[in-house]
């Protein structure tokens, strides 16, 4: 293309992976997604199985949050 430098050498297979520019979106989506999914499952358990008013949703949200943090540590961590 006129005026463009030739594209930079595509990274070879053993080159270090590119800086994770979408890391922020992945992290937030794991956190919020985890709490939504397990909070939702907890709410369903609350509503249909146990009849309590919010405790299962709370437990689900905490489990989901912890699982989200674990996923981030595994996927984006060292």
């Amino acid at each position: 293309m006129a005026g463009q430098q030739p594209p930079s050498e595509p990274p070879k297979d053993d080159a270090p992976p590119p800086i994770n520019s979408s890391g922020g979106w992945t992290a937030i989506s794991y956190l919020i997604g985890g709490m939504l999914v397990w909070g939702g499952i907890g709410w369903l358990v609350d509503h249909y199985l146990l009849g309590t008013k919010g405790i299962a949703m709370g437990i689900g949200a905490v489990i989901g949050g912890a699982a989200g943090v674990y996923l981030i540590a595994r996927r984006l961590g060292a």
């Binding site: 800086i19 709490m35 909070g39 919010g54 709370g58 949200a61 905490v62």
Partner: protein, 79 residues
């Protein structure tokens, strides 16, 4: 003598609770990213090495703020 109602504050304590709960993680996330930016400024080659710790630190601090949002809804009614 029966007590009379002199003044009344009406509103949602969940909102106040979330406002207070957001102070800590706000400062925490700022500290995490500030440390990453500083370390990258001092030694740019270390940026790629320290980036995983950036995301782990951000996740752990942010989950507290998100739990605050969740519990605001959960405790809006009685348990």
């Amino acid at each position: 003598m029966p007590s009379t109602l002199l003044a009344e504050v009406v509103g949602s304590t969940a909102a106040i609770g979330y406002g207070l709960a957001a102070i800590g993680p706000g400062i925490g996330v700022g500290l995490v990213f500030a440390a990453y930016i500083q370390s990258t400024a001092r030694q740019p080659e270390a940026a790629r090495i320290t980036q995983p710790f950036l995301w782990i630190g951000f996740a752990v601090v942010e989950v507290l703020a998100l739990l605050a949002i969740a519990f605001g809804f959960i405790w809006a009614g009685e348990l």
